[in-house]
């Protein structure tokens, strides 16, 4: 239970791209890039794949992020950098969590419920974050297949109603539209950063780097397929369709007779998303624990603290989601490429010093 097996890692990598990008991102991309919404996504998938390959090469060394930094820079700087990275993960977690909040309040209720409806998530997250990060691996043995089946189910239900030619002509958004969409979607594609806290906890076997990258690519292409299907269903109105994955499958003809059977898949994906949304928080806490050691009650206290903080954020940003999204994905979007595109390959340059205990 202290290590994440290769299979669990692959499930995580295969699911992390689709699960995190199905709620608001499709509508945002459609609003900004129209039928070209898949181009920014393709760019991010390819870039993230390359970066994930680098992170997995780092995982081969069998050392944690903090240990890698400490080997090169010494313990003090390593501590500072680890905390800095932990802060980045907290920053990255904000948008998915706010997204989750409006998703939950929009999809699970017929009328807008009170803010308290989302608050139980933080109980769940606090429990999750207090557990060792590696114990998370086993959950993906269940969540992985569940996410794959649910996602495939939604795609199959959706595909029958999609006009795939709607994405034509390619390039209709123009360079400016595509570049703008690429920039704003950085805040959703931080998958490589989620792997950094897992360094040193992965049971690396031969070929894991390229196999893991292929898994991520497969998940990434599933996202592209979903985006194209999504646009094929909603075309010009796609920009208005929040909670994309809950909407595409409802036009399937069997739905009329049986009721919303697609909710089985939607709820299963919502369960996976609950785990996914807590992942950056968990990673952030783990980075701090790596740097300062796992003192007895520290994980629990950190977990309670972080989740209380984010509960505060959700209260503060209640009905201010667009403001937060604009701030994170447009004004400060550049923070993401620094930590998710530049940092991981640079880590490959860290010294390969033999660990003292080795």
């Amino acid at each position: 239970m202290n290590k994440i097996s290769q299979r669990q890692l692959f499930f995580l990598l295969g699911c992390v791209a689709p699960v995190g990008k199905l709620v608001i991102l499709p509508a945002r991309l459609a609003a900004n890039a129209g039928g070209d919404l898949w181009i920014p996504a393709l760019f991010h998938v390819l870039v993230q794949s390359a970066v994930i390959f680098c992170v997995l090469l780092l995982a081969k060394r069998g050392k944690s992020f903090y240990e890698l930094l400490a080997d090169t820079f010494g313990q003090i700087i390593a501590k500072i950098l680890s905390v800095l990275f932990a802060l980045f993960l907290l920053y990255a977690a904000l948008l998915p969590l706010l997204e989750q909040q409006i998703f939950v309040r929009g999809v699970f209720y017929d009328t807008l419920p009170s803010l308290a409806a989302f608050s139980p998530f933080f109980l769940f997250s606090a429990y999750l974050c207090a557990k060792p990060l590696a114990s998370f691996g086993r959950v993906w043995d269940i969540l992985g297949p569940m996410a794959i089946v649910s996602f495939a189910g939604i795609l199959v239900f959706s595909a029958t109603n999609a006009d795939y030619l709607a994405v034509l002509p390619v390039g209709s958004a123009g360079l400016k539209g595509i570049a703008g969409s690429t920039a704003l979607s950085f805040s959703w594609f931080f998958d490589s950063a989620l792997l950094i806290p897992l360094l040193g906890k992965i049971e690396y076997k031969r070929g894991a780097a390229w196999k893991g990258t292929l898994c991520y690519l497969a998940g990434g292409f599933a996202v592209l397929l979903f985006l194209v299907t999504f646009f094929g269903i909603f075309e010009g109105t796609a920009g208005n369709q929040l909670f994309a994955f809950t909407k595409t499958s409802k036009y399937y003809s069997a739905i009329t007779a049986l009721g919303r059977i697609d909710y089985v898949f939607i709820f299963a994906l919502a369960l996976v998303m609950a785990f996914y949304s807590a992942l950056p928080l968990q990673g952030s806490i783990d980075c701090v624990l790596q740097a300062f050691g796992k003192k007895r009650y520290l994980p629990t206290l950190l977990s309670i603290g972080v989740n209380l903080l984010f509960f505060g954020f959700t209260v503060f940003f209640d009905f201010r989601f667009n403001l937060a999204m604009e701030f994170i994905s447009q004004k400060l979007f550049w923070i993401f490429p620094v930590f998710t595109v530049l940092l991981p390959p640079l880590c490959l340059l860290l010294r390969r010093k033999r660990h003292e205990s080795a």
Binding site: M1, S5, R7, Q8, V104, F108, Y109, D110, P113, A117, F118, P120, F121, L123, F124, Y127, L128, K131, S135, R138, V139, D141, I142, L258, G259, R260, Y263, F267, A270, L271, A274, F275
Partner: protein, 478 residues
Amino acid sequence: MKITGKLDRDLGTLKQLLPAEDILTFDFVSVKGLAFTVLFADPITDKELLGEQVIRPLLHYDGKPTAEEVGRKITSPEKRTETDLAKLSEEVLAGNPVLLFEDMDEAIIVGTKKVFVRAIAEPSTDVAVKGPREGFIEDIKINTSLVRRRLKTPELKIEFLNVGRRSQTYVAVCYLEGTSVKQTVEEIKTKLEEIDLDIVPDSSYLTHFLASRPYSLLKQIGTTEKPDIFCAKIAEGRVGILVDGSPIALTAPYLLVEDFQSSEDYFVPPYRATFTRLLRLLALFVAIYLPAFYIAAQLFKLQLFPVKLLLTIAGSIRDIPFSPSLEMLLVLFVLEILNEASIRMPKYVGMALSVVGALVLGETAVSAGFVSTPAIIIIAFSGIGLYAVPNLIEVTSVVRLAMLLVAGSVGTYGIILLTGFILLYVVTTENFGTPVLAPFSPIVGRDLRDSIVKYNLGSLELRPRTLKSPNKRRLGNE
């Protein structure tokens, strides 16, 4: 405290140790003048056997006054000598008479215990239409003989321990040497030896001490009443525990998937077994989730109902004085009470209870407008589903109630989060180094062949990898 050889003195000491009135003593003198006293617990000693096999031969004894010689004259097959008076008193309490001799510093214990046993019958909690019908009973000796009869191998080890300060209950640890993991066997024995209980009335007392998470909601030790299942589990590499006085045997390590398997699955074609296992899984999900989703849909998300069903439900609950969640909780409580009462109630009242439950509480409550028909249907479905996996009833009924409460307070998202909680809890639970949710998490591909899906016997040539048995192969050459 050792025997002194002075009959009166030793007898006095023993009487002090055993002041109970049903501890009887009788004095005898043999033809050659050897004085001896028999001390036994009246209700649990077979006096006829004692007279036939012990006293009658000794009355005619004319040999040397040594325990060894005297012992040869006793025809009972179970006999041994003992010098410690405290141990002698324990044996008397266990039903074995003690013989004390004048001028002899050893006493003889004879095994003429009177054993009251019920007949071996089919256990009511684990009925199989096809397959063996024998069940364990309360006597550990008979239970071990049932096991031994099925595993005629010298590798089968049955180690006896005494647990319980006062009850001194016999506990047998059964395993196949070379097939069970040594570490698990040792861990179980250590844990059993460390138990400091007053009495052990049933095997369930021990599960608390064997579990890695004693307060866990989940079961952590497997249970069975059937020797065929017990032996099959031992043969897979598990360790079995039999407790004197309990018909329920324990097995460890325990996997959650075990409770979805029935002995009958191995006696029917694999496709049928797979179907019934899937059915059990589905029934369990229905039992846990149906009432919760019904409530969540009514309160928070009407869209979960098709429109026609919604209108039917809306019509049914229109005049109900309670909120949907409270109504469901009430019906659930009534079901649980009925269930509890029907188990405890004498059988001849059972029929009356069914009538009261079904007609009075069901039909009348609906027509009186206390509860709605859909609520009763939902709870009835859920109740039936629960009994499809009888070994998990204790857990699932609690989970169902928890689901109902979160569904009534937070709605569907509450159900999803609670599922997440439970999932996380289950995947991180291990006992004796084995993850409870294996072979699903962690996924053990080969073991999936006998999980919810059941392959043909020919495909199960290896023992479950999850149990880490050193003896991997069970079909073909080992």
